[in-house]
């Protein structure tokens, strides 16, 4: 057990682990000490001096080494100078005054100094309304400045640091958070200070400029409006926007997001998304998201989206009513074996209902995806209690055939941090990746040798107490199996298991629900082309015809084609019936992340046109074909799903919405502490257990 220390902060007794910084100890009991440069995710640097407090310690008698007593109590000796709460660790018997006259005076003066070189253009500043400098000035600052207005520091106001981030040099208060984030957390030191004192500027010399995939996070932790995103700049005021909890749909990490929306004249009075922000989930994305998650959601508002059902008449797709379209689709599927081909872009509920449709009609449900090994992850995958943030010394991490930086950026951050905490990181990959510099061992080899190399590493890797294995994009069946074999005997143990770096957010969900790969050995289009011949093919969120002309040809040989889609894809153009689906931002649902965490997303905007949720469409078609499939709400579908799929036992929407307090405390009134990331009030999700069917040689008949 870690030793604890008891101290007094503003008359409150606090007991915290030894080594805790004063600023954090105060935070734990709800006392806010103003900070600018300190950030709870980074080591303190003590640069801004905003956090000055009075610190007293028990006086010690030099002769006896005993505390000096005064009226029977230890005498507290206050130092002549104030101390920075962000760099000073607590000690036994310490007395901290955060709001004494002396402390307040110093905090006020620091703000007065900061404001001498700040433009105070809050009315046109994106940060206005959620700005630490603004908030702290109101709470602690002076109403007037003793400095000469004409001597204010002026600097460039519109400096693009790269394509995504703009810098306003005048607003920067030189806290260094952005620089430290890039250097320490992202491992991509592309920002720096230039010059000194009042002339200090943020610069980048990287080429291309500031192209880090994590760059957007610097705008969250920048305590002023110095860093803003090209995407949201001048887009809306923070107080005009509503917040909707969501899950990023772009990769299997499953980062927790908040969409900010508002009704907008520019959009004809419609509610639109203005920006995506990270939402805290310390077990998934902590308080970060990558730039893809932050910026690449615009497709949901693309004007080319499908808005109403289409039915083929005389060889041409024509607008139809929902009832006509459902009836048409029902007629096609009824009495036929239906081949469902769906992608991991869909939610658990969608995939479950589509599979019900296939199963009910004696058909098959395939996942439109080309990575092998899905069913291995349902067995050897990580399970409840796993947190990459717990891995460190004594753990081993293997990354095989994957480039986490590009394919699942937040996993890169988390694995890098684990390696820095001492985890034994081993990478087996054909090309160099950004993660390489944190690896203890690098094996550069082609696809054919990878499996053998992993076998060679087995003794070393399995010696570790905890072992997490990622396999990805270029893995073949053999490699996937050899990765799984490493985990034999660790099934169900927290912080151990296999993670597929799938191309889509909910591929894991599809595997858990029993979807079959298109082709178990290669996943190639060949197999799919064979499979569709003469069948009624039901495609959801998959565009094989657009991806491969061969498949477009093959689909023409299908008996009928039914499509649920967001966009008028090539595949949709070949369909007999096309249903407009809702985007994940317009409805609720859940995804299962690569770490097998089931997480809920909530609607942010009203649905587009007549679109409906995929699970509801599938249920309606099933009903028309005489099947009974729940389609009234995502919540009810999840209840059915949890009852039917063993891995999901006990999961319900209520359970998924549960939260426990997380550290650091972020997103409340205290934006200066953690940044503008959102607090998680809508659910941390639930990690699946490994399915309990008997342990057998799922891994190909090798002596394991």
């Amino acid at each position: 057990m870690t030793k604890t220390v008891t101290l007094t902060i503003d008359d409150q007794q606090v007991t915290v682990p030894e080594g805790t910084l004063i600023v954090n100890a105060a935070k734990m009991v709800g006392i806010d000490i103003p900070v600018f440069c300190y950030h709870p995710k980074m080591e303190p640097v003590g640069m801004c001096r905003q956090c000055l407090v009075e610190v007293g310690r028990p006086a010690i008698d030099r002769a006896t080494g005993q505390p000096v007593l005064e009226d029977g109590k230890p005498k507290i000796q206050f130092g002549p100078k104030l101390e920075t709460a962000c760099t000073t660790p607590v000690s036994e018997g310490m007395v901290v005054l955060t709001h004494s006259e002396k402390a307040r005076a110093a905090q006020k003066e620091i703000l007065e100094f900061l404001l001498t070189s700040h433009p105070l253009d809050c009315p046109v500043c994106d940060k206005g309304g959620e700005c630490p400098l603004q908030n702290l000035t109101l709470a602690y600052g002076p109403a007037e400045s003793r400095f000469l207005y004409s001597e204010k520091h002026h600097a460039e106001k519109h400096v693009p640091l790269g394509d995504k981030i703009w810098l306003d040099r005048e607003r920067c208060i030189q806290c260094g958070r952005c620089i430290r984030f890039q250097e320490i957390i992202a491992g991509d030191p592309v920002l720096s200070f230039y010059q000194r004192g009042r002339d200090t500027d943020i610069i980048t010399h990287s080429d291309p400029p500031f192209d880090s995939i994590f760059s957007g996070n610097t705008t969250d932790i920048c305590p002023v409006g110095a860093l803003t995103t090209a995407d949201f700049r001048f887009g809306a005021r923070p107080w005009e926007m509503k917040a909707a909890a969501s899950i990023c749909s772009l990769c299997p990490v499953g980062c927790n997001l908040t969409f900010n929306t508002r009704r907008e004249a520019k959009a004809g009075g419609k509610v639109v998304i203005k920006r995506a922000m990270p939402r805290q989930n310390e077990q998934v994305n902590e308080i970060w998201i990558c730039d893809r998650g932050r910026f690449n959601w615009h497709y949901v508002e693309d004007p080319s989206r499908l808005t109403h059902p289409l039915v083929k008449k005389d060889g041409k797709l024509e607008k139809a009513s929902w009832s006509a379209a459902i009836e048409a689709a029902g007629n096609q599927v009824k009495g036929n074996q239906v081949l469902v081909v769906a992608s991991g872009r869909l939610s658990n509920e969608d995939l479950f209902n589509l599979k019900q449709l296939a199963d009910g009609l004696g058909g098959e449900a395939l996942l439109y995806d080309s990575l092998p090994g899905g069913e291995l992850t349902t067995r050897y995958g990580v399970s409840a209690g796993t947190n990459l943030g717990d891995l460190g010394a004594g753990s081993a991490i293997l990354v095989a055939a994957a480039d986490l930086y590009h394919e699942a950026p937040i996993w890169y951050l988390r694995v890098k941090a684990a390696a820095e905490r001492g985890a034994n990181l081993v990478i087996v990959n054909p090309e160099a990746t950004r993660l390489d510099k944190y690896a203890k061992k690098l094996v550069r080899c082609g696809k054919d040798e990878a499996a053998a190399k992993v076998r060679e590493l087995a003794a070393e890797l399995t010696a570790a107490e905890n072992l997490v294995v990622f396999f990805g994009r270029t893995a073949d069946r053999n490699l996937a199996e050899d990765c799984a074999a490493l985990l034999q005997g660790r099934e169900g143990r927290a912080n151990n298991g296999l993670i597929g770096v799938w191309p889509r957010a909910n591929d894991q969900g599809a595997w858990e629900l029993g979807y079959k790969p298109v082709d178990p050995s290669t996943g190639s289009g060949q197999a799919l082309a064979q499979a569709v011949k003469g069948k009624v093919v039901y495609l959801a969120a998959a565009d094989p015809a657009g991806d491969d002309p061969q498949l477009a040809e093959a689909l023409k040989g299908a008996k009928a084609v039914i499509v649920q889609e967001l966009f008028p894809t090539k595949t949709a153009s070949l369909a007999d019936v096309v249903f407009p689906a809702q985007a994940f931002t317009e409805r609720d649902g859940s995804y299962t992340s690569g770490e097998r965490r089931v997480q809920r997303f909530y609607p942010a905007t009203p649905p587009l046109g007549e679109s409906r949720a995929d699970f509801a469409i599938a249920a309606a078609v099933a009903a028309a074909a005489g099947l009974e499939v729940e389609g009234r709400s995502a919540l009810l579908v999840m209840d059915k799903l949890a009852a039917a799929v063993p891995a999901f036992v006990g999961i319900s929407y209520r359970k998924l919405a549960e939260v426990t307090e997380q550290w650091p405390i972020v997103g409340r009134g205290d934006l200066y502490y953690g940044g503008t990331t959102y607090e998680n009030r809508q659910g941390l999700g639930v990690q699946l257990n490994v399915s309990t069917f008997k342990r057998s040689n799922v891994v190909r008949g090798r002596a394991l």
Binding site: P189, V190, L191, S192, F193, Y194, Q195, R196, D201, I203, T204, H205, S206, D207
Partner: protein, 165 residues
Amino acid sequence: MSLAEEYPEQIQKIFAKYPPDRKQSAVMPLLHLAQLGKGFVDRHDLVEIADLCGITETDVAEIVGFYTLYHDKPEGKLRIQVCTDIACALRGADEFLAQLCERLGIRPGETTPDGLVMVEAVMCLAACDKAPMFQVQGPDGISYHENMTVEKTLEFIETARKEVK
């Protein structure tokens, strides 16, 4: 010409001073090397020094920005850096700087039209008792000039003018 081509031996000597896993320590002497002759560090030098030291170009630029001894723009061949910090100010450094600039027909921070002299104010140079004082950064390195008057400074510039050209 790259630094490696121009100063192969010096570079080797510099790196010999530091352990191989501490290559970044060589950044300061390398910057001095790059500044020899032309008086400033250009973009190519930044890239090359970053490569040599195994750090990013941004890191090298930060160091150039931090120290008043490094420059990233071509300015006067002689850079006269007058200390105007508190102790020197008490001995008339501000006045000295103002008069010197007036005589040269430039403002602090500017270069004379012939490109010879650049005058700027800097922080304490640790010669506080000998103000007015300045240091000169020129092709031959750095020299200190203490207990100066404007006349003496102009004389110094005239002498230097002949040598530098």
